[in-house]
């Protein structure tokens, strides 16, 4: 037991795991049904630095899944990032939490020096842009999302995915997840069961898969070497399996992002303030 808490139940993560996780800086984009689960779980495992980005306030339709959200929050229209911060601090008061109640494109200051980026956003196009940001700053990217498809008048198929990509591995386009067909279809519609169907148990399962993949990167408890992960959740039968899609789609080194795409496009030392030299 240390000042941070008692992590003895996860000691199998290794003798340095507590410090490693406490040093970790994670950015979560989207603090709704998926991101709120991820924030909570990362706080439990002992991550020390959080950057939470979401432009929205909670509303009544979020209470079916947003972890930490209360009826009072709905009345008060509490920003989702504030709810996330409250949940994290209630578990780990020592954690550093920074929040941005705005679109992630306007808060990229919080992405760049993170160690991992969690994307919990709606839509394929948003995912593509967010993974692009992860590549720009050489970050591991964890994406979760679910969808509900109408089978007939009385039946629906519930499905979801957790995808992890690494800077020198295949991206979501290489893997065959982000396809032009999907991007085009998104222009017309998204889901067949109303706008962005979301339920707490699917969000929670996908969030757990993402948190597990993240902890495995930083504090591996078994020998593991894989430069991407794509897990599919068949929600109707509650089965998680590794996607076969990359077997058909993945053709070799990523051609969508290259070394020229790294960093700030117009980086110039002379435009930085004097605070740069203070350590």
């Amino acid at each position: 037991m240390t000042d941070r808490g008692d992590f003895s139940r996860q000691s199998f993560l290794g003798p340095d795991a507590e410090q490693i996780l406490a040093d970790a800086r994670v950015t979560i984009v989207g603090l709704g049904g998926g991101g709120s689960h991820i924030a909570q779980q990362l706080a439990h495992v002992g991550v020390g630095h959080f950057r939470l980005i979401d432009p929205q306030e909670i509303d009544g339709s979020n209470l079916n899944r947003l972890i930490g959200g209360t009826k009072q929050d709905v009345v008060a229209k509490t920003p989702k990032v504030e709810i996330g911060e409250r949940v994290i601090r209630s578990i780990r008061p020592w954690a550093e939490v920074r929040t941005a109640k705005r679109e992630w494109q306007l808060a990229d200051d919080l992405l760049k020096d993170s160690h991992a980026l969690f994307g919990c956003v709606d839509g394929y196009r948003q995912r593509m842009y967010l993974e692009g940001a992860a590549r720009r700053f050489a970050l591991p990217y964890f994406d979760i999302g679910m969808d509900v498809t109408k089978l007939d008048d009385a039946q629906y198929a519930v499905a979801g995915q957790m995808i992890m990509t690494l800077p020198d591995g295949p991206c979501m386009r290489c893997l065959g997840f982000l396809t032009q067909q999907r991007l085009d279809r998104e222009e017309d519609q998204y889901g067949d069961a109303g706008i962005n169907p979301q339920v707490v148990w699917i969000n929670g399962t996908l969030a757990s898969l993402a948190v597990g993949a993240f902890v495995r990167l930083l504090a591996p408890w078994f020998r593991y070497s894989r430069d991407f992960e794509w897990l599919e959740l068949a929600g109707n039968h509650q089965l998680v399996s590794r996607s076969r899609q990359p077997d058909y789609s993945f053709k070799g080194p990523c051609t969508h992002f290259g070394p020229r795409d790294l960093g700030d496009p117009f980086f110039d030392l002379s435009k930085l303030g004097p605070g740069l030299t203070k350590q």
């Binding site: 720009r136 960093g263 980086f267 030299t277």
Partner: protein, 175 residues
């Protein structure tokens, strides 16, 4: 200001593999890592984008040091920075495990050539890195005269490393 050097584990494996190759007279090898950069209000992030090995013929036979680059090696590195918006980091390796430290020769020689990169690419940070078999240490110049330590190495891969230098009072931490 936190200076972060971020690269992938595969990239660093390739660099180490090159640096341990024997040379016909030099006791060790050196090279350059080119970087692009990003900045936040409190972090400067140095993103490794390419490795430039020093050619066999560009070493000088000087038995007083592990490896001595000739003018041609430095000229080639300067050209890379001249033609592209890249920072250049000299890199070599100490053959041990654990955090490496600069030798007096490292410090003296870095001061001789790193500031020259600002003549061709003043917009980018340049610097020097010393690797061991499993750790790294480095410093970056922000202009010809201002040097700060790299305080964090992020090695991204299926086993990821966040290696943070915490001030210990040891000489090797002082830029």
């Amino acid at each position: 200001m936190r200076a972060i050097f971020r690269t992938t584990d595969q990239f660093l494996r390739d660099v180490r593999q090159d640096l341990v190759r024997p040379h016909r007279f030099a006791a060790e090898r050196v090279g350059f890592i080119s970087i692009r950069a990003a900045v936040t209000s409190e972090s400067l992030i140095l993103l490794a984008e390419g490795y430039h090995a020093v050619a066999d013929d560009d070493y000088i036979d000087d038995q007083t040091v592990g490896a001595m680059m000739g003018q041609e090696a430095i000229r080639k590195a300067l050209i890379v920075a001249l033609l592209q918006p890249l920072g250049m980091f000299h890199v070599h390796m100490h053959e041990h495990r654990g955090r490496p430290a600069y030798s007096p020769t490292d410090r003296r020689e870095q001061l001789k050539f790193v500031p020259d990169f600002f003549k061709v690419r003043p917009q980018m940070p340049h610097g020097a890195i010393v690797l061991s078999h499993d750790r790294a240490i480095g410093r970056t110049w922000l202009d010809r005269d201002t040097v700060i330590n790299i305080t964090e190495f992020n090695i991204i891969g299926s086993q990821m490393t966040i290696d943070i230098s915490r001030p210990t009072g040891r000489v090797d931490f002082i830029a």
